[in-house]
């Protein structure tokens, strides 16, 4: 793969938005299958809550959303500038704090 990279430096796997969409669709499909399996497979449970339909999927989803939202809130509380504890030698860097969350 790396050899190919060198020859065609501009086209990588996720440079093509179609591939990204594929991944997303794959994940959605997986989720669906897993929920369906929950209904199909008989599971032995140790705790009453486990018997609730789709307990794990819901818990996982809710937990993560809560986590992120709380963390964002936490950021308001604890985030400080980079040199809060005093300035140290700066790694080679240019420009102000850049955002990097554009998928």
């Amino acid at each position: 793969m790396s050899d190919k990279d060198l020859k065609r430096p501009k086209s990588h796997l996720f440079d093509n938005p179609k591939n990204v969409t594929r991944v997303i669709r794959g994940l959605l499909l997986l989720c669906l299958v897993l929920v369906v399996l929950d209904a199909v497979i008989h599971r032995h449970t140790a705790h009453p809550w486990e018997k609730v339909f789709a307990f794990y999927p819901m818990y996982g989803f809710v937990a993560c959303v809560t986590l992120v939202l709380l963390a964002k809130g936490l950021r308001k509380l604890v985030m400080r500038s980079d040199d809060y504890y005093g300035r140290f030698e700066e790694p080679p860097e240019d420009g102000p704090a850049s955002r990097s969350d554009d998928v």
């Binding site: 497979i41 705790h47 996982g60 993560c64 986590l67 964002k72 936490l74 554009d102």
Partner: protein, 565 residues
């Protein structure tokens, strides 16, 4: 006599010769060292102890049992991987320190008494601090000093506890201690510092991101695992640990989500994983202890793998902040894949090693009826996937293309080899957990792969991923920002110094206004303490002879009066 140091010797000798040799000889030597050590361990029979008398104390420098043997093998394995990973280095300080550090960790788990444990405990502090210092930046130096202070503090507490424990008539033997006595509490806190208990954890998230690339690989393997071992031996079944562990498993993930430095993310996730182990120890059933120990074993592998992959990125780009990285899969595909293996392992995907140990702990928690703790662990497990499983690879290798993509390339072969071995072990243990289970302290009939477990875990993880995806798509996910996030370290890095300053100022003001003698006394004595001891302070100055003589007279008068009384 030789046997007193036997488990430590190979690594120690290796460290010694690593200091003297260079180049290929040193590489071979350092590779051979952990292998020889591991073979030596193989000759030990569990149940061996060697009593030694030292300073009138009955000591047991070496005690071999299943628990210590398991950790012994683990540390040799970790040292072996670490050595491979750092083969390209020419920095003698780092190489010597890392082998010596591994040696101390091995010594600590074979220590049969508290004093020997303390010796290795402090040696661990010093040798590991060297790995932080070896980064040789101002930042690393400051972080290393803070790290060293806290580590030494832990040692001091351990020593104090050990003395009190011995005074309590228990002898120095390192067995079950419990938190019943003052001594036990002291030792508990000492272990807790090294295990990264909440509010005592800051040395970890502070220093690990500042160490050298390979230094952090070593750091993540030893110190905390020694603490886990010590907790397992000294405080198995202490209920408080269940709650402490649950807290440890949960709170760091919030920080991990917003931390920018990816190795800091891993440091927080290390605490989170330690939380699982601590819960297991706190529950104290055979299954739980087995789970904790097995998880410690696996954590060394997958956390090592993740640290190695991040170290590789740092090595190649010189950058570790998530906000400045991204898109590296184009240039470092092998590293990216290996990193994802580590991410899958830490997230406990079935067929990866995290799964086979984490599920033991979770099962044990449920068996003992800790309902809320179980929910907390589930939450933590989902969170792990979120920050370590997705965030690390995503921001380092995918996300947007950073400016580093142009110059990036695969790391040196030795790094790749080390990562490959670790990844292979992660998958190997994940697929065939029986080998690991046979090494555990208690016999186990546990089987992780039943449909319920696998399905539940897959559902949990898949929907966590879904959550990440949707948050990302709806732009709710917090962006990576260059920032410092306050943590408990703020107390000693900011609050205490500031409070001290403010208190002084306030005390001075109040003193002026109210002319209150007591306040002035406090303020002036604190100020005086600082002022008088500076190099030109009263207590440090050269004195005129007359004043010295005056002191003599004062002292003579005082003693005379005291003696007449």
């Amino acid at each position: 006599m030789m046997f007193n140091f036997a488990p430590v010797l190979p690594l120690l000798i290796g460290a010694f010769f690593a200091a003297l040799t260079r180049g290929r000889v040193r590489a071979l030597l350092m590779l051979a060292t952990p292998v020889v050590g591991a073979v030596l361990l193989y000759t030990f029979t569990p149940g061996t102890t060697v009593p030694v008398e030292w300073m009138g104390l009955e000591l047991t420098p070496v005690r071999v049992d299943r628990l210590s043997l398991l950790f012994g093998y683990l540390f040799h394995l970790a040292a072996f991987l670490g050595v491979i990973y750092s083969l390209h280095l020419k920095d003698t300080l780092q190489l010597v320190a890392s082998l010596a550090y591994a040696a101390c960790a091995v010594g600590a788990v074979f220590a049969g008494d508290l004093l020997t444990l303390f010796l290795y405990w402090e040696a661990l502090a010093v040798t590991s601090a060297a790995l932080v210092f070896a980064r040789r930046s101002e930042r690393a130096f400051a972080a290393g000093l803070r790290y060293l202070l806290i580590q030494v503090l832990s040692g001091v507490l351990l020593l104090a506890g050990a003395i009190a424990w011995a005074k309590g008539g228990h002898g120095l033997e390192f067995g079950h201690i419990g938190t019943g006595s003052i001594a036990g509490k002291l030792i508990f806190v000492a272990f807790g510092i090294k295990a990264g208990f909440p509010l005592l954890h800051n040395w970890l998230t502070d220093a690990y991101p500042e160490a050298t690339p390979s230094g952090t690989v070593f750091l993540s393997a030893f110190t905390t695992k020694v603490a886990i071992y010590s907790l397992a031996r000294g405080f198995g079944g202490t209920e408080m640990l269940v709650y402490i562990g649950a807290a440890m498993a949960c709170f760091p993930i919030f920080y991990a989500v917003i931390a920018n430095d990816l190795r800091r993310v891993l440091a927080y996730s290390l605490i989170n994983q330690l939380g699982f182990m601590v819960v297991g120890i706190g529950i104290g059933t055979e299954l739980a202890i087995n789970g904790a120990v097995a998880h410690a074993f696996n954590d060394v592998l997958f956390k090592g793998l993740l640290m190695m992959s991040m170290g590789a990125v740092l090595h190649v780009t010189g950058e570790m902040r998530g906000s400045e990285l991204g898109g590296l899969y184009k240039r470092m595909p092998k590293t990216a894949i290996l990193c994802m293996v580590g991410a899958a392992s830490i997230s406990a995907f079935p067929l990866f090693n995290g799964f086979v140990s984490k599920s033991m702990i979770v099962t044990a928690v449920l068996e003992e009826g800790y309902e809320w703790v179980w929910l907390a662990l589930l939450f933590a497990a989902a969170g792990v996937f979120h920050h370590a499983g997705i965030k690390i690879p995503f921001f380092a290798f995918f996300s947007h293309d950073s400016k580093h993509v142009k110059q990036a390339h695969e790391p040196p072969t030795n790094m790749l080899v080390a990562m490959t071995i670790a990844a292979a072990l992660c998958i190997g243990i994940g697929c065939f957990p029986g080998t690991l289970y046979r090494l555990l302290p208690y016999p186990t009939g546990y089987s992780p792969y039943d449909s319920s477990h696998v399905l539940a875990q897959m559902q949990l993880l898949a929907f966590s991923a879904l959550a990440f995806l949707s948050l990302k798509i709806y732009k709710i996910y917090p962006p990576e920002l260059r920032s410092v996030n306050l943590d408990a370290e703020w107390i000693y890095r900011r609050l205490v110094p500031n409070a001290f300053r403010h208190a002084l100022a306030a005390v001075g003001r109040v003193g002026n206004q109210v002319r209150s003698h007591s306040f002035r006394l406090v303020s002036s004595s604190i100020l005086a303490l600082a002022r008088h001891h500076r190099s030109e302070g009263v207590l440090a100055r050269s004195w005129p002879t007359g004043s010295m003589v005056l002191w003599v007279a004062v002292l003579l008068g005082t003693t005379l009066l005291l003696y007449y009384l």
